[in-house]
């Protein structure tokens, strides 16, 4: 035992010396300032949904709230429905990129009045069916849904039981695909991949091996060049093409079981809980003011997804480069 304890002391000593080496010149904590900001902001809990574009919105707003308004920002990771539920129960203050969800709007905004609309994010969302660009080049008419049945046998996989495969994403995503396949009489079977990662992996491998793939996907999406559009600065983007379904008209997708038209154009918006809206926090104005373009979002997303920056660092890099936009969002918060 005696020998043991001497050894321990040696270990402790070695550890301390090691630390000295790794961390030369430490600053004294009492010298460093805590986060700045004059107004009392308190807590801000921004829900984070599982896709990278969302993370960009959340952290840009969060970083500004933290640095300029002095809020104590946290990022609960939740799926979309759980986020709504969290706003109703008071666990979450805001959702900063919402994709429609008419049923939830009715339940929480119209009936319960526990959630409020906080305006558009400025991002235009597109949901639809996509094929890898090489297929669009080789079979140009595949981009019209009328011709999908002609190519169904190409999309056959081990999972689709003789029909063509339509690959879907995370089960929480907004989707009408089962109904679409049925109502458009397509010889396809919806197979569920399960996540954004599954979709990305599938598109990547389809592009590399030149294998056929028809899948549900969405933009803004920093990773993807849609219909030949370019994404400057992105290494190895995936190139995909949008398959046109029957044109969307208002009301054509009201009955979920009878949908036979494309997804509507999404004007993505923000939501705040009623409780938070009434709290008088300066962050309320910031969230309502927040508005940017798809390019802005893709820029931040590529910092995160491609350059491997932490979401906070990525957001800060964009904030530093765009002081004008940030200043506009801060109007009405009492801080400039």
């Amino acid at each position: 035992m005696g020998r043991g304890s001497a050894r321990t002391r040696l270990v402790a000593l070695a550890a301390v010396v090691g630390l000295g080496l790794t961390a030369c010149g430490g600053g004294n904590i009492s010298d460093t300032k805590t986060t700045s900001g004059g107004t009392s902001c308190g807590d801000l809990r921004i829900a984070v949904n599982p896709w990278t574009g969302y993370v960009s919105n959340a952290h840009v707003i969060g970083q500004i709230a933290k640095e300029k308004l002095g809020c104590n920002v946290t990022y609960p990771d939740v799926k979309e429905e759980v986020g709504w539920q969290g706003m109703a129960s008071g666990d979450i203050d805001t959702i900063v990129e919402n994709w429609g969800h008419a049923d939830l709007v009715k339940k929480y905004i119209d009936e319960q009045k526990s959630v409020e609309d906080a305006g558009l994010t400025g991002n235009e969302g597109l949901i639809g069916w996509f094929v890898p660009q090489w297929m669009a080049d080789k079979y140009p008419d595949i981009l019209d849904w009328h011709n999908l049945n002609k190519y169904a046998s190409m999309f056959k996989t081990s999972e689709s039981g003789g029909q063509g495969q339509l690959l879907d994403g995370d089960p929480s995503y907004v989707t009408n695909d089962e109904a679409l396949v049925k109502n458009l009489h397509l010889n396809y079977k919806v197979v569920v991949g399960g996540s954004e990662a599954a979709l990305l992996t599938s598109f990547k491998s389809a592009e590399k091996n030149k294998t056929p793939l028809l899948a549900y996907f969405y933009t803004p999406q920093w990773y993807a060049e849609v219909d030949g559009a370019s994404t400057p600065g992105v290494k190895d983007p995936i190139q995909i093409a949008h398959v046109k379904l029957p044109k969307w008209t208002p009301g054509c997708d009201d009955d979920a079981a009878k949908v036979a038209c494309d997804y509507p154009p999404y004007h993505l918006n923000k939501l705040i809980s009623t409780k938070f809206a009434d709290s008088g926090s300066p962050a309320v104005a910031l969230i309502k003011n927040f508005n940017w373009t798809n390019e802005d979002q893709n820029t931040v997303s590529s910092y995160i997804g491609q350059d491997g920056m932490s979401p906070d660092d990525a957001a800060q890099k964009w904030i530093d480069a765009n002081p004008d936009k940030v200043a506009a969002w801060l109007k009405g918060t009492g801080v400039s």
Binding site: G4, N28, K33, P76, E81, S172, V192, G193, A198
Partner: protein, 711 residues
């Protein structure tokens, strides 16, 4: 020496083969199980081909039954009126707020800035020193070194705050488990009725995949630390209760008798005889409980539970396998650190007894708990033999007290200096940068991409072949037979394998599955489960025999198995997706990767447990290597093989939900959808119940089959 102790094993078969059950059969007569199974198969095939696709109870993903909609309504009611209800509002609300508060205070202490300070109250240096000291007091020097290195690596990986969060959630959950679990376990050991009532509840807690109660817990406790703690407790409580019960029950009856003859009261008996004698096994229970709690890390992240699960989930969203692996590695380190420390502590609690370690591992959904013996080289006392403490009690206290001085110094330093408070970034530090999080992430990503580029055409071909020749036929047979044919087939198989006794549980479980309205999906899941289990056993026998026969192989393979048991399955999902595309085969691969370690270890233990004299005798009579394995070692280890199959089955089943996320479909996918789409909440809950019923049914059949095989 049998190397596997089974708790909760069915009663010894010799004693329970009463004549009235099998009146005309001589127990020694061969049972012709194979022949009977063949008969069942033939009848089944005839019915299958004549009644194909009729009465299969198949149902579309968006279709719901009355039961599912009622569950949705219940959810809506809780959401709207829960706050005013005494139970949901006051009882659950208070529990939730309290655990949130506790976790947050601890976070401010070691992981998040304690406003207005820019850092936690205690910085990393202080935490490392304190934890090292505690480990030294509880466990010993080897454990202290291991723990210190692990803690420093959390920082080097750049995951210090998340690691501390996981430590907090784990410790809070385990402490609550001990407070609740010990009294229940003791009660079960002392009172047979309590035991009979609670055992099935524990079975359900262990077979129900955690995903199934994710949505209700988020509903009751809100998202955040409290839901994470409750989830973790539900999952981690059964092992500690079961092992406590077992520990108290296995105190030698002669000792009890002796104590009783001295006139001890019941309370004295418990405090002075049973608890001290059972202490060591109870510590093993705490170890099991800790491992189970850790394995919930990634799942708790889905309801915003703090901890290392968060970086894993976040990294997978951006397909960053490297970052997910590094976070996964940190979870593995945390598991090894806590496992070895609690094991060492249990050795200390009673040194000199045999070295039993836990089956660590993610899905401790063992309906009977299997304990695994650690090889000697992995224990605290490795190779040093017995030695008596050289210090007296007070001398030891003095040494520990003196050691506190540097600890306090480190604490003070970590409150004062920023670099000792927040772990510095080591990306540019010489030497350390090689093992920094960023560097490891890149290395792992490069390797994964290289691997996928080179073998994905082969693996996709493999997937297609296996799907065409194995998965599809089996699934068609199970899922396209009418439901009542399947119900009868399962009963017949249960009878042939396990006799009369599994019949009642099988009927009950079938009724439950039928009641959930998801019979067809359950059969698809069953087909995949059976296939995955078969693959697990192939792999387990091959590796297990190698390990059992060679110590060198054991030394090499065992750490790999350990790592596979603890690393969160989410981590290998993305590479598996790239290699096999979203498919049922991918789900099976994930399940096999998850279940083969435990099965392999059990097989290896069985092979090692074959009496050396028998092996020697067989060798003397000139057996070849092949004969030795096939005719001597495997048949003699039959009991272990059946146990391994049982465990393999349950582990595979616990991966059904994760399989649902990579294209596995059926019950697992319904559970995941139920968590994501409000109109499927009830259906997801029902699917969770169906999975649990499937698990209990398979477990009962396998257990009674094991009891027979032991004859």
């Amino acid at each position: 020496m049998t190397a596997v102790d089974t708790l909760e094993a069915p009663p010894p078969p010799e004693a329970s083969a009463p004549k009235e059950e099998q009146p005309y059969v001589d127990p020694r007569k061969p049972r012709r199980t194979g022949l009977k199974l063949l008969g069942v198969l033939i009848v089944w095939l005839v019915l299958f081909f004549s009644l194909k696709n009729k009465m299969t109870k198949a149902m579309g993903i968006q279709d719901t039954t009355e039961l599912h909609r009622k569950l949705n309504d219940a959810r809506d009611w809780v959401q709207l009126h829960g706050g005013d209800n005494w139970f949901f509002g006051s009882v659950l609300g208070t529990i939730g707020d309290f655990s949130n508060w506790v976790v947050q205070q601890l976070q401010k202490l070691i992981s998040i800035p304690a406003f207005p300070r820019p850092t936690p109250e205690i910085g990393w240096l202080g935490v490392v020193a304190l934890v090292a000291w505690i480990t030294y007091v509880l466990a010993g020097l080897r454990s202290t070194i291991l723990v210190t290195i692990s803690m420093l690596l959390f920082g080097v990986f750049g995951l210090w705050p998340d690691s501390m969060d996981l430590l907090i959630v784990t410790i809070v959950s385990v402490v609550i488990c001990i407070i609740i679990g010990l009294p229940i376990g003791i009660g079960m050991a002392r009172n047979k009725t309590t035991s009979t009532v609670i055992t099935p509840i524990l079975d359900i807690m262990q077979t129900m995949p955690p995903f199934c109660y994710l949505a209700p817990m988020a509903l009751f406790f809100g998202i955040g630390p409290s839901a994470a703690v409750v989830l973790t407790i539900i999952y981690a409580l059964p092992p500690i209760v079961r092992i406590t019960e077992h520990a108290i029950k296995s105190v030698s009856p002669t000792t009890i008798e002796a104590a009783r003859s001295m006139g001890l009261t019941k309370m004295q008996m418990l405090r002075q005889v049973q608890l001290p004698m059972a202490r060591r096994t109870i510590v093993v229970g705490i170890n099991q409980c800790t491992m189970a709690a850790l394995s919930m890390a990634t799942i708790a992240a889905l309801v915003n539970g703090p901890g290392l699960g968060k970086p894993v989930v976040a990294a997978l969203q951006i397909e960053n396998v490297g970052a997910a692996s590094v976070a996964g590695l940190a979870i593995v380190l945390m598991a090894i650190m806590l496992d070895r420390t609690t094991t060492a502590a249990s050795e200390r609690a009673a040194s000199g007894q045999s070295q039993v370690a836990s089956t660590s591992g993610m899905g401790v959904m063992l309906a009977g708990v299997a304990l695994e013996r650690l090889p000697r080289w992995a224990t605290e006392e490795a190779g040093r033999g017995q030695h008596l403490p050289r210090l007296t009690r007070s001398g030891r206290a003095l040494v520990m007290g003196v050691l506190l001085i540097p600890v306090v110094f480190c604490l003070w330093l970590s409150r004062l200096q920023l670099d000792y408070a927040i772990f510095p970034n080591v990306d540019n530090t010489p030497v350390l940068k090689w093992i920094s999080g960023a560097n490891l992430t890149n290395a792992i990503n490069d390797f994964t991409n290289w691997l996928i580029d080179h073998i994905d055409t082969f693996t996709i071909g493999l997937k297609n072949d296996v799907t065409t020749w194995l998965i599809n036929p089996l699934q068609n047979l199970l899922a396209e037979s009418p439901w009542w044919v399947m119900a009868l087939v399962l009963l017949a198989v249960a009878y042939v394998l396990g006799g009369w006794r599994p019949l009642i549980p099988t009927v009950i479980c079938e009724a439950v599955i039928y009641g959930t309205g998801l019979w067809n999906d359950a059969m698809v899941t069953l087909a995949m489960t059976l296939l995955a289990t078969a693959l697990v056993m192939l792999l387990a026998v091959w590796l297990g025999v190698t390990m059992g026969r060679s110590r060198q192989a054991d030394v090499v393979i065992r750490p790999v198995l350990d790592a596979f048991q603890v690393i969160p399955p989410f981590v290998y999902l993305v590479p598996a997706l790239a290699l096999f595309q979203p498919s049922r085969f991918t789900a099976i691969v994930a399940a096999v990767a998850y279940a083969f370690p435990i099965a392999t270890k059990l097989v290896a233990d069985g092979i090692r447990g074959v009496a050396p004299t028998t092996v020697e005798a067989a060798r003397a009579s000139g057996s070849t290597r092949r004969q030795m394995i096939l005719k001597v070692q495997l048949p003699m280890a039959r009991e272990s093989l059946v146990l391994a199959t049982n465990q393999g089955l349950l582990y595979v089943l616990s991966m059904v939900v994760i399989g649902g996320m990579v294209g596995g479909g059926s019950l697992g996918y319904i559970v995941v959808s139920g968590f994501s789409q409000q109109q499927l909440f009830g259906k997801g809950l029902a699917a969770g119940v169906a999975i649990a019923a499937l698990g209990v049914m398979l477990d009962r059949i396998a257990r009674y089959a094991a009891a027979r095989a032991g004859r």
